[in-house]
Symmetry: C2
Subunit: 119 residues, 2 copies
């Protein structure tokens, strides 16, 4: 494989809440996403999900609180835990999770994104 440069990959898309796969490790995927505004409450019943902020800042609302993340910070949303990400201005993040995970979990939404889109 080629190495992946986050800045170069991030320059290739501008849509929000639509994860783009940049690499696979075994059956896991690394995905870049640009987010802005509010996402929906959802969970992933079968897997933990890792958020890493590359640029900007975001909040992950949880049922019992919230986590504020800036660049260079990582958070693991545990399997099955309801969460709602949001960002008041554009934030660039990387997700790590198993291949096949849908961005809105089990919730049907206009924010449900096509899965397994590579850039």
């Amino acid at each position: 494989m080629e190495k992946v440069n986050f800045t170069e990959k991030l320059s290739k898309f501008s849509d929000h809440w639509s994860p783009k796969v940049i690499a696979e490790m075994n059956d896991y995927q690394f995905k870049l996403v640009k987010i802005e505004g509010e996402f929906i409450w959802h969970n992933h019943p079968d897997t933990d999900e890792v958020f890493i902020v590359i640029e900007g800042s975001m909040v992950i609302e949880l049922e019992d609180g919230k986590v504020e993340l800036g660049a260079g910070e990582l958070y693991v949303v545990p399997k099955g835990v309801m969460h709602k990400p949001y960002a008041t201005s554009e934030c660039k993040i990387m997700l790590v999770e198993p291949r096949g995970v849908v961005n809105t979990g089990g919730e049907e939404s206009e924010l449900t994104s096509e899965n397994d889109v590579w850039i």
Copy 2:
């Protein structure tokens, strides 16, 4: 869990080639490592291994070439592929791989590090 701040975690150790676990996602671990100088040739017969450079630059020598990585770059060393990381000056990286992976693979070396050390 608490969020993880890479800079804060990196300030807590100074040894080289000794991965520190900062988070788990399912049965995978995220590890911070400071590297400088040459590592040994080794492979991981059962798993891919992800390198992400946080600060500095490094090289991963492979049997058929080499990959130069700078900050904000990611590379996946495929399962079973022989590789030798090195850095001419200190480089701070994050590894992602399954819990239980030993830094030197199947090679016995003075560089073999204690596994599953959390900071």
